[in-house]
């Protein structure tokens, strides 16, 4: 993935969709469930980021 404006914009859309899911879950099931779902998303994003960096290092 090349780092430029369209790549960052894609992340805006991803974060927006993730935020909408957290807000929806919070309104439907309560703050604790929403917070836990948010934590799951943060861990998933971190794992994805670490994998991406590792692949980049292997590639270079």
């Amino acid at each position: 993935m090349r780092i430029n404006e369209p790549a960052v914009f894609r992340w805006v859309v991803i974060v927006m969709v993730a935020a909408v899911s957290v807000v929806a879950l919070t309104l439907l099931a309560g703050r604790l469930v929403g917070a836990l779902w948010g934590l799951v998303l943060v861990i998933a994003a971190s794992w994805h980021g670490i994998r991406w960096v590792q692949e980049k290092r292997r590639g270079s």
Binding site: I3, N4, E5, P6, V8, F9, W11, V12, V15, M16, A19, V22, V23, T26, R31, G34, A35, G38
Partner: protein, 208 residues
């Protein structure tokens, strides 16, 4: 011999003046790398504020959040979030327009982004005026104003960058080649970062 050296030195001086050219990676532009490193430092700054916030929420753990009798204007902040998210779409539109050589689209996108950003800032200041508590009201008030105020300062800086980019766009400075619209792309990346940070601040502070 001496004259040959002098002549070589003179020839070299004619080719290049000043310090040697800085090395540039072919993978990423210097300006883009600069803004990315700046954003990494900004993420750490926001991280410090979020650490204070979560310490207050999780470790101190007040009975209700926000502490009674205070309330957050969630609906207004939600509308403000929609406004700021829209501005990411308009700046993306501006950049897509200049990539296709559409200068009018660039100008329209930049003006719309600036107006949406200014509206966001105006609503946030209005929210501060009417919210009913100040930064002096408990630690919760301090962290609320610190987090949202820090973000507001970033929006203000983004608006300044957009102002320069818009003035340059109206003067016909940008072109469709990647190196000719870096002056919009770099503020665009910064603006997206400000947008992502607000989404996180909004969900964390107002919703959870």
């Amino acid at each position: 011999m001496e004259s040959a050296t002098v002549s070589l030195g003179h020839g070299h001086a004619e080719e290049h003046h000043g310090p040697p050219e800085a090395n540039q990676s072919s993978r990423i532009d210097r300006q883009v790398l600069g803004i990315l490193l700046f954003i990494v430092s900004e993420v750490m700054l926001f991280g410090a504020f979020f650490a204070s916030y979560f310490f207050l929420r999780v470790v101190v753990n007040p009975a209700t959040w926000p502490p009674a009798p205070y309330e957050f204007p969630v609906a207004i902040a939600g509308v403000n979030t929609a406004i700021l998210v829209s501005s990411s779409f308009t700046i993306h539109y501006a950049l897509e327009a200049i990539r296709r050589g559409n200068r009018n689209g660039l100008k329209l996108g930049l003006v719309l982004t600036w107006m949406l950003g200014a509206t966001f800032l105006f609503i946030q200041i209005n929210e501060y005026v009417h919210i009913g508590f100040s930064a002096r009201d408990l630690a919760f008030g301090s962290i609320f104003y610190c987090l949202t105020g820090l973000h507001g300062a970033h929006v203000f800086v983004g608006l300044m960058l957009l102002t320069f980019a818009t003035i340059r766009a109206f003067r016909g400075h940008f072109g469709p080649e990647p190196e000719k619209h870096l002056g919009v792309e770099v503020p665009g990346i910064y603006w997206h970062f400000v947008d992502i940070m607000w989404i996180i601040v909004f969900v964390t502070v107002y919703i959870l």
